[in-house]
């Protein structure tokens, strides 16, 4: 590494540290108390108004459901962007990486050959040794890029056995989000890890449809459509956008929150699982 580059990286580090301290220092030095009006209101009225004991769920699905809708749209955009990049890069990004690397080393080898031929004319004695050394170098380069087997028996057994438990826990976190910590996003992410575990621990004779990318994509699209329909359905009954269409039921006061949690969890789980499986490549599906 050259000295100038080192100096530049040091300057970058100093600049980033200065930026972080400029943002964080006022927060630490501020002596005025935190605003408490919203907190007190939510503590007093949150459970009665939404029926959700878990106040986090009550806020992000009861009072701020519009923001949650925006977040799901952000996730949808991220997933579709990833899939777009992956599909544009051909069958799989990894194949492209390996082939481009190979052509690069081949081009390098031909370049070094053509460069060594005119240089060899003055002194013929040193040429064969140098050439052999260079071919050896390219040879080791080729050997280094040989694909390794990271997938072992251990990984298959552990992920295959663990995935039903993880899926179960994901559905629990998703459906009980109004009572215990958790909710649609958290449960959805746990479900996505369960789906990825299923895909990793998949033996050839026992394949399931849930780990196929097309099925997951369809689930995500259907869940998003359902989310839009649910949020519009309040308007039909004379309420506003994202108003509770179920009304005040006595048995299940948090029914609307459970419904939203389930749809959001399905959408998040299918979307993130879809992204992971598409990134991992075709050999796992």
């Amino acid at each position: 590494m050259s000295k100038g580059r080192k100096k530049g990286s040091q300057l970058q580090t100093l600049l980033s540290l200065a930026a972080v301290s400029a943002v964080l220092l006022p927060v630490f030095l501020l002596s005025s108390p935190w605003p408490a009006a919203a907190r007190d209101y939510l503590e007093l009225h949150g459970v009665q108004e939404t029926g959700a004991i878990n106040l986090v769920s009550a806020i992000y699905l009861g009072y701020r459901a519009f923001d949650t809708l925006g977040e799901t749209i952000v996730l949808l955009t991220a997933v579709s962007g990833t899939i777009g990049i992956l599909s544009r890069a051909g069958a799989s990004l990894a194949e492209g990486y390996r082939s481009s690397e190979e052509t690069l080393s081949i081009a390098e080898a031909s370049e070094s050959e053509s460069a060594s031929v005119p240089a060899a004319e003055p002194d013929l004695g040193s040429d064969p040794g140098e050439k052999a050394l260079r071919t050896e170098e390219t040879h080791t380069k080729h050997r280094k890029h040989k694909p390794r087997r990271l997938r072992t028996h251990l990984l298959e057994v552990v992920t295959g056995t663990l995935s039903p438990v993880v899926l179960m826990f994901g559905f629990y976190v998703m459906l009980y989000g109004h009572l215990s910590p958790g909710g649609g996003f958290q449960g959805g992410v746990v479900i996505a890890s369960g789906i990825v575990f299923l895909a990793l621990g998949n033996r050839k004779e026992s394949s399931t449809k849930i780990t196929q990318a097309s099925v997951l994509g369809r689930i995500e699209a259907a869940a998003f459509l359902m989310l839009i329909l649910i949020s519009v359905s309040g308007i039909i009954q004379g309420g506003g956008f994202l108003d509770n269409p179920l009304g005040e039921s006595v048995i299940l006061p948090a029914g609307f929150i459970i419904l939203l949690n389930a749809v959001i969890g399905l959408k998040v789980g299918a979307g993130i699982g879809f992204m992971c499986i598409a990134l991992l490549g075709k050999e796992n599906s």
């Binding site: 986090v56 990004l93 990894a94 990486y97 390996r98 280094k144 890029h145 694909p147 390794r148 990271l150 997938r151 976190v173 910590p181 958790g182 909710g183 996003f185 958290q186 992410v189 746990v190 996505a192 890890s193 990825v196 990793l200 993130i272 992971c276 990134l279 991992l280 490549g281």
Partner: protein, 78 residues
Amino acid sequence: MTIILLSLILGLGVYTLVSRDLLHGIIALSAISLLSALLFYLLHAPDVAITEAAVGAGVSTVIFVGVIRHTDRKDDDS
């Protein structure tokens, strides 16, 4: 307890930046996620702890290991 967790997270973060073997770096990164999930739980934010454990230790580690399998394990740049 919080100080122990924070210093462990800091040390693992430095190791992740320094290590030349990318697989070791990824394992240190997922350990950071687990420790910070524990930290979030101690700070009375179990929602965030669940998300951090699932995303940081689960999904992102799987993605990184998948990428390493397709590319190179060692960092060539020296």
